[in-house]
Structures are given as C-alpha cells and as structure tokens.
C-alpha cells in the first residue's frame, strides 16, 4: 500500500517536473531589479509571449551580474542600465546587437529633516560634498549594479573618495537599500522607478534630481550567438525588435505607477 502510494506520488511529481520543459519555447532574460520590481515587465512581456507563443524567463539581478550571465551564455538577452559596462560588454564581443530601449533618471534621497542641507542646492557636485562632509550615513548599493556604478561616478565627479563610518556599502537590492536608508535616516541614490514604488512606505524625501549626470538609459543586448551557439537568436532578435517597436515603446510610455510615468522612450 505504502509502496503503491509512493510510486504514485513519484509519477505525479515527475509530471510536474517535466511539463514546463515541453511547453512553449523559452527566452531567458537577465535584467535589473528595477524593471522587475516596478512591474514594468509584467506589463511588457505578456503581449510578446502571446504574439510569439513563447515564455520569457526573467532573472532579476543587478546589472553587473546580469552582464556576467550574458557573458557566460546562461541567458539569451540582457536588459540593463550601465552604459559604460554595456559598451565594454559589446567591445569584448559578448553581445551581438545592442539597442536603446528607454530611460529615466536617478534621484538622491535623504531624511525629511535633511541634516546635510542638500535640499535647495543646485549643483550635483556640491550636494555630494555636503553629504560627505556632514558625515550623515550614506547607504551605497555596493553590488556593482547600474545604480552603484553611477554612484561611484558621481563621487568621482565630485573629487571625493567615499570612506569612513558614514559610508555604508549594503550589497543589496535597491528596495532593501531604500528601506535601510530610511531606518538609518541616511542618504542614498535610487532610480526614480524604485523610489516611486517605495514612496509610500518610507519617509525619505527626494533631495536632488534633474542633473544630466543623473540620466539613466536602459539598453537591451542580445548575447552573441557566435560565442554561444545555443542562444535562441531568432527569438532574441524578435524580442529586441518588439522592445523598440511602436507597440513596445507605447507600452513603456503608458506604464504608470501611482499616477506617474516611470520610463520614457526617445
């Protein structure tokens, strides 16, 4: 009886195990946490999946790791936001096609009482110096994500080397870092999308935005099939075409959170 039951159980589990494999073709997309957590992909992917009878497997990690996954051929496409790393990726021949998809911007967040007096400053470099000099906590992503790469560029632009007990490298996702900054009442750099998603959950305020150095473009890259022959190049190309098509761009422009548009196309 017991044996019969366990065999039955095993069969049921095996069915569960292999059914996804025989399903439609799958495209692997490594992307940043911002596109997944904001809900954009949930809006963007179903029309593509329906039109091409496929399923897009989303692996949401930081830009650095997403590019690593592309480099080793573990995914077919990457959707990331760190132009300098993307250009390196292309120069090394890891990608075969790169296209601009959309953009938004980074914003500096800080506690409501703004101890570093960043609010009202018009110059980005000055804001960064004020934060560094105030010794109020600054929470860095510290994970080689697109946001982290940009933050390091900003310190560099200000001629500063961030170190000391006020500079905390969290090594976590954007959402977690916003929560940490809120708990520690410190400053942090965030993409606008994630900030809007967390606006109601934290009492951090936007203390600086609107500088062109905070421009945050997203690019989609197809992993080079010459390097990794198993890459689903037809489907991957269709995906690039879709994101840059009128339909895809329309969906991106129409995506809103809390009444605000999160991503813009050219």
């Amino acid at each position: 009886m017991l044996r019969l039951f366990s065999i039955l159980l095993a069969v049921v589990f095996m069915c569960g195990l292999f059914s996804p494999v025989v399903a439609a073709e799958r495209l692997r997309l490594a992307t940043t946490t911002s596109t997944e957590a904001s809900g954009l992909l949930a809006e963007l992917l179903p029309p593509f999946e329906q039109a091409n009878d496929c399923k897009v497997d989303v692996i949401a990690v930081g830009t650095g790791k997403a590019l690593k996954l592309g480099e080793s051929g573990d995914v077919d496409v990457v959707l990331v936001h760190a132009r300098s790393l993307e250009d390196q990726f292309m120069a090394h021949g890891y990608g075969s096609d790169r296209r601009d998809v959309m953009y938004n911007d980074f914003v500096l967040l800080g506690p409501p009482h703004d101890p570093a007096e960043a609010l009202g400053t018009n110059d980005l470099v000055e804001v960064m110096s004020k934060i560094a000099n105030s010794k109020v906590s600054f929470i860095s992503r510290g994970d080689e994500s697109g946001t982290h790469v940009r933050e390091l560029q900003l310190w560099q632009a200000a001629g500063l080397v961030p170190q000391g007990s006020w500079y905390l490298e969290a090594g976590r996702g954007m959402g977690e870092v916003i929560i940490m900054a809120n708990e520690r009442q410190g400053y942090t750099l965030s993409d606008r999308g994630t900030y809007l998603a967390f606006k109601d959950k934290v009492d951090l305020k936007m203390v600086f935005a609107g500088d062109q150095r905070l421009f945050n473009p997203y690019g989609v890259i197809m992993v080079n099939p010459a390097r990794h022959p198993h890459v689903k190049q037809d489907l991957a190309r269709k995906f690039l075409d879709f994101l840059t098509s009128e339909e895809g761009q329309g969906l991106i422009n129409g995506f809103q959170m809390a009444g605000e548009q999160l991503f813009y196309t050219q």
């Binding site: 589990f13 494999v21 692997r28 051929g73 959402g175």
Partner: protein
C-alpha cells in the same frame, strides 16, 4: 503588533483565495523538495548505514567531514553547482542552470549530509545484534541491512523529515540555481525574498505563514504514515 496581525490575516486570505501565483510557488517548493529528499535518501541512507556498521581506518575522519558538511552554507552549495551547471562549466551543454532540475540537484546535495548523519546516529543507537542474528539465519549482508533499516525505520523517517524541513525552508540554493523565475523556479522562499526586497513585508510574512502551514500538513501526513 499591527504588523504581525496584518500578516496573519493576509495569510488566511492568501490561503483561501487560491491565488494562482501562490499555488504555483507552493507546488514548486513541494515537488522540488520532495524529489530532492527522495534522491538524497537513495544516497544518504546507504552512506549512514555504511559509516555506522563498518569499521575501517579513517572512519572517524569521514564522520567528522560529514558533520562539517552539515554546516555548509546553502549559498556555497549554490556557488559550486552554479559553476558546474553554467554554460561555461563542465555540464553547461545541458542548459540546466535556472531550471527546477538544478534546484533539485542543489537541494539534494544540501540534504544528503543531514540524512546520512541522522541515519548514522540511528545505527549507532540501534541494537546491532539484528545484523548478526540475520547473518546467522543465512541472510546476505544486504538482506541483513534491510532488516536493520526496518528496525530503525522511525529514525530513518526522522532523517527524511529533517532533511525535508531544511530543504523546503532554504533560500540560497533555490535563488542561485533556480533564479526565482515566475511560474517556473519561484518557490515559497524565493517569493518571500522577492516580496521583502519590494518592501512588501506583510505579504512576505504571510507567505512565510503559508509555508509553515504547508510544512505542517506534510508533517501531519508523515506522522500518519508512521502510526500505521
């Protein structure tokens, strides 16, 4: 206090709303953990028996190693297998990374030392005359071992339950090797991690409560089997 009561309420709502995503995550957790524990039993039980029954040079060292393996962080198991399954790795051509199969492999590696250690402890505690008696009655070594397993079946069951608990509650292996893909490799634990990263603490905690309920049902079921 609100936070906890809200979570509890949300958990109850989740369970009875039969949310499709939650169902899928529960199902993924259950079947990966179950297959992993079955495979782990196939390897772990014989290892435990062997270490418990045989006397040879280096046995103590092996047991110490096995105990050490129980302390292996799940992320390290994930890292090792990641290198193995990645397209760059030795098993890359099969494209197993970010599939349920990779997750099951990782969870199996996680569970084997636990199962083996529990079985070893049972064998040490059991009356080993069972083996001698069976042998004198003409049983082969294999048949005698089966007899011993029957003797310590509750202990073996406890080993499997402990392994199952560890596997279904872990997040490192599932996240690294599964990739937390919606509808495919998203388990209860990776879903909790995701909701936490989105700041949806109440939803995350309520998923945790659902996970505990599922574990409770599994244990009740196993308990029932033991009673028979």
């Amino acid at each position: 206090m609100n936070y906890l009561s809200d979570s509890l309420l949300a958990a109850v709502v989740l369970i009875f709303s039969f949310n499709r995503e939650v169902q899928l995550a529960v199902w993924t957790s259950l079947y990966t953990a179950t297959v992993a524990i079955i495979v782990a039993a196939v390897f772990g039980v014989p290892v435990g028996l062997w270490l418990g029954l045989k006397r040879f040079r280096g046995r103590r060292l092996l047991i110490t190693l096995l105990n050490t393996l129980m302390a292996m962080p799940t992320v390290v198991i994930g890292l090792v297998l990641f290198g193995l399954f990645s397209r760059q790795g030795p098993l890359g051509e099969f494209g197993l990374l970010f599939t349920p199969i990779a997750m099951i492999a990782g969870q199996t590696v996680l569970a084997i030392p636990i199962v083996a250690n529990y079985v070893l402890a049972c064998v040490n505690g059991a009356d080993q005359r069972v083996i001698d008696t069976a042998r004198t009655l003409g049983a082969t070594q294999f048949q005698a071992s089966i007899q011993l397993i029957k003797e310590i079946r509750f202990g073996v069951m406890a080993a499997l339950i402990a392994g199952f608990g560890r596997v279904i509650g872990e997040v490192g292996v599932a996240m690294m090797l599964g990739g937390n893909i919606r509808g495919s490799t998203r388990t209860m634990t990776t879903a909790i991690a995701l909701e936490t990263s989105k700041g949806e603490f109440v939803f995350g905690l309520s998923l945790g409560i659902v996970l505990l309920c599922v574990a409770l049902i599994v244990n009740l079921f196993l308990n029932m089997l033991q009673q028979r």
